[in-house]
């Protein structure tokens, strides 16, 4: 039995063989199994794309048509007012364009075993991830004009939440502002210039600067939200910082996800970026209730990551990589490309589709691809 499977292992993809193995009864005769495998094999080879088939075109249409039915919307998280996520068509465009700056960065942080059960504990961990600036933990910041000093009142409740003492904050401030004297008075900090002639505008600038002094948490994480996913609790964040989150010991490093494809490329490599493109595109299409075959998305992701970095499907990305001048010119900004090509003396081999359409020649796809050799009978 096993040798029969082994024989077909070369011919059929692993997944199909596994599927056959699970579906056929265990006491099947050898001849019957052989017949099944042969039938599956025939079906499989008729399903394979033929040489010269324009898979890119089919893929573009297969994603494009359902794309027209997508809605323009953003999805809001219930319970958290300011956390919304780009979905639908805008998100799809964003991914396929290969934008380096996406509109809503998000992370899904899975936690390791003992940490992912109690809501209290997860909430505490979530809060510790959030980037805290000085302005987030103060009740007021006022300038004393008479004595030209800055008085910062700290929020004691918030301080206990993130487990920081006023003295520690004073230390951070001291590092940031050299040339200023700092005084800690219970929960208030008083900053005064060491030089006598500090004017009002100087102290005002100091106040603005002091607001965005980094106190704790992970940089870039703007909001956190513990969410139940299956039988565990995960943390969803607005803003991303994959590199630093991966260093933390309570997160499940194998499953942490960011929706920023460029960040994934940087931290985890090009193959991970490809996987992320597939995952993100599929998520959008699936959320809209549309049905696009995975293979089309895979083709798009493969094309985008061909060159070693993520390139968008636009004139700055994969179109720029095309070797043919006419093909590039036919897409967008034709004059620019033709002028550039004539200056540098570029050569067009006419190997692709569009330039041959322009020149009224056979396009090298399908039956236009192979050349024919005929034996001519000598007269």
């Amino acid at each position: 039995m096993e040798d029969l499977y082994a024989e077909y292992e070369e011919k059929l993809p692993q997944k199909l063989i596994e599927e056959i193995k699970t579906h056929v009864p265990s006491k099947i005769s050898k001849t019957k199994l052989k017949a099944i495998l042969e039938k599956v094999y025939l079906e499989y080879i008729t399903g394979i794309a033929e040489p010269g088939e324009c898979v890119g075109l089919v893929g573009a249409e297969s994603i494009g048509e359902p794309g027209t039915q997508m809605t323009l919307n953003t999805f809001h998280f219930a319970g958290v007012s300011e956390m919304n996520v780009t979905t639908g068509l805008p998100r799809l465009i964003e991914i396929l364009d290969g934008r380096a700056e996406i509109s809503t960065k998000m992370m899904e942080i899975y936690l390791k075993k003992p940490y992912n059960q109690q809501p209290e504990q997860v909430k505490k961990l979530a809060e510790s991830l959030k980037e805290t600036l000085l302005k987030d933990i103060t009740t007021s910041m006022s300038i004393n004009l008479a004595e030209t000093k800055l008085v910062i009142e700290l929020d004691e409740k918030k301080l206990t939440d993130i487990n920081v003492k006023p003295v520690q904050i004073a230390k951070v401030l001291e590092k940031n502002f050299k040339g200023y004297a700092l005084k800690v008075d219970e929960a208030s900090l008083i900053i005064k210039s060491k030089s006598k002639e500090e004017d009002i505008s100087g102290i005002y600038k100091l106040k603005q600067k002091a607001k965005s002094v980094y106190i704790g948490g992970v940089k870039g994480i703007k909001q956190v939200l513990p969410v139940k996913r299956g039988d565990e609790l995960i943390i969803i964040t607005a803003g991303t910082n994959l590199k630093e989150i991966l260093q933390l010991d309570f997160v499940d490093q194998n499953r942490v996800m960011s929706n920023d494809i460029f960040e994934i490329q940087e931290v985890l490599g090009i193959e991970a970026a490809r996987q992320a493109v597939i995952k993100e595109v599929f998520k959008v299409i699936d959320a809209q209730g549309l049905n696009v075959d995975m293979r089309h998305i895979m083709l798009v992701a493969d094309t985008m990551t061909m060159s070693g970095t993520v390139l968008g499907i636009n004139r700055y990305g994969i179109v720029k990589e095309k070797p043919s001048v006419l093909a590039r010119a036919s897409f967008e900004t034709p004059i620019k490309h033709i002028i550039q090509a004539s200056i540098t003396g570029e050569k067009d081999d006419l190997k692709s589709v569009i330039e041959n359409v322009m020149l009224n020649q056979y396009v090298p796809i399908g039956t236009g691809l192979p050349g024919l050799i005929t034996k001519i009978k000598k007269a």
Partner: protein, 78 residues
């Protein structure tokens, strides 16, 4: 950097030997320039000791076909 290797998004990367590389190129009638690329500074191949001109064999876990092999040629990182 072990977290890169273990992450769910990262498939297994392996370096092809010179013999396997030659065989691959012959099998598909291609040159090394025809393969998709990967940069030398890609985080996933830092432990493999690669140089430009090597070929990386990637064992992807495809949802449609099971384990699939994919190849990338190493090029100088920018």
């Amino acid at each position: 950097m072990s977290y890169v290797k273990n992450h769910n998004l990262v498939p297994k990367h392996a370096k092809l030997s010179e013999k396997d590389k030659k065989q691959l190129l012959e099998q598909y009638h291609i040159t090394i320039a025809d393969l998709p690329k990967i940069f030398t500074d890609d985080p996933a191949i830092q432990e493999l000791d690669v140089k430009p001109g090597d070929v990386i064999k990637i064992s992807r876990n495809s949802t449609t076909a099971g384990e699939v092999f994919f190849y990338r040629a190493v090029i100088e990182g920018v």
